[in-house]
């Protein structure tokens, strides 16, 4: 844990084997950490910073996102080809959705509640209806996509394509790719600033962060 004001490490919390991803519920402050080797999700109380429960999901959970609308937690299980849906209040797994070969990154649109799941091996993104849990479509992107983030300002969906050195930009209303932006060497992570709409992309091999925004 890092104090956002002072920038100092305030503590560490032990979780499961090979923790890979984490997400915070804006509704409850609970922190969800995927333990890739254990096939579980650790739930951390954001107030006490202690692990309050461990939830069994699918094989090799690597991605996690929380719906800001419903508090539902979506976990991408890479080796199982599924997404586990967790009730944010009870911690119960309420559904398992088949999505593809190797789901990795996952994000929820704050505008629509739709869930975007990146399939690393199929070079596409599955779209899940947040209410019904049904896969409503797949969107082809670049080669070996890794991560996904949604802009709360525009509904735009950003997907890092690791082997193409590009980011696919998807219109969140039509769910079609509207542009492809060249970035650095092997883009992996992506996040959107809710304040400015700027998109930050980590380029693994050239040790840089590309900032994507609107041209002035």
């Amino acid at each position: 844990m890092i104090n956002g004001r002072t920038g100092t490490v305030t503590g560490t919390i032990g979780v499961g084997a090979y923790p890979d991803a984490l997400a915070v519920s804006p509704q409850t402050g609970k922190v969800y950490v995927t333990n890739a080797a254990a096939g579980t999700v650790s739930v951390i109380d954001g107030k006490t910073n202690t692990v309050t429960s461990t939830i069994a999901v699918g094989a090799q959970p690597v991605g996690v996102a929380v719906s800001p609308r419903t508090g539902k937690v979506y976990v991408a299980n890479a080796n199982a080809g599924t997404v586990s849906v967790i009730n944010g209040r009870t911690g119960a797994v309420t559904g398992t959705i088949g999505v593809g070969q190797f789901p990795q990154g996952v994000a929820v649109s704050p505008r629509t509640g739709e869930v975007y799941v990146v399939d690393h091996n199929s070079d596409n993104v599955s779209v899940i209806n947040g209410r019904t849990g049904a896969v409503t479509g797949t969107i082809g992107v670049g080669t070996y996509p890794v991560a996904v983030a949604v802009s709360p300002r525009t509904g735009g969906v950003y997907v890092t394509n690791a082997y193409d050195n590009t980011v696919s930009v998807i219109n969140g209303k039509t769910n079609t790719v509207t542009s492809t932006v060249g970035v650095g060497d092997q883009p992996v992570g992506v996040a959107v600033s809710p304040r400015t709409g700027k998109v930050y992309v980590t380029n693994f091999y050239d040790n840089t962060v590309s900032v994507i925004g609107m041209p002035r």
Binding site: A21, G46, V169, S179, S193, K198, T202, N207
Partner: protein, 116 residues
């Protein structure tokens, strides 16, 4: 009608006409400025930590936190895009997340446009 009164009226009409033409002239420029709004581009490239992977933005401060396989977490100013500090964490980091999501009062109103 005095010439002065006519002159005033003419001036007012001229002002309206000018404003009208100004608007007409400005519209294509505005449209041109709006059109690429759905075509985002790379506006900056920032040197970060070694082998950066996870990235998260604080909805409160706009600060950007980048986790690197190489070790420390980089802190980037959301305003200037410069690395303002690094936080040694003593272990390999893959992912980061900000502890407080946007609340109803602090989250920005979504823009009307549905674009990237």
């Amino acid at each position: 009608m005095s010439a002065g009164k006519f002159g005033k009226r003419f001036a007012a009409l001229a002002a309206v006409l000018t404003a009208g033409f100004g608007l007409a002239a400005a519209q294509p420029a505005d449209a041109a400025a709006r059109a690429p709004a759905c075509q985002p581009v790379v506006i900056q490239t920032i040197g970060a930590v070694q082998l950066p992977e996870g990235v998260a933005v604080s909805p409160r401060t706009g600060k950007v936190y980048v986790a690197g396989i190489g070790g420390p977490v980089s802190v980037i100013s959301g305003r200037t895009g410069t690395v303002t500090g690094t936080i040694p964490v003593g272990f390999t980091t893959y992912a980061v997340a900000s502890a407080r999501g946007p609340t109803r009062s602090t989250s920005p109103a979504p823009s009307a446009a549905w674009c990237g």
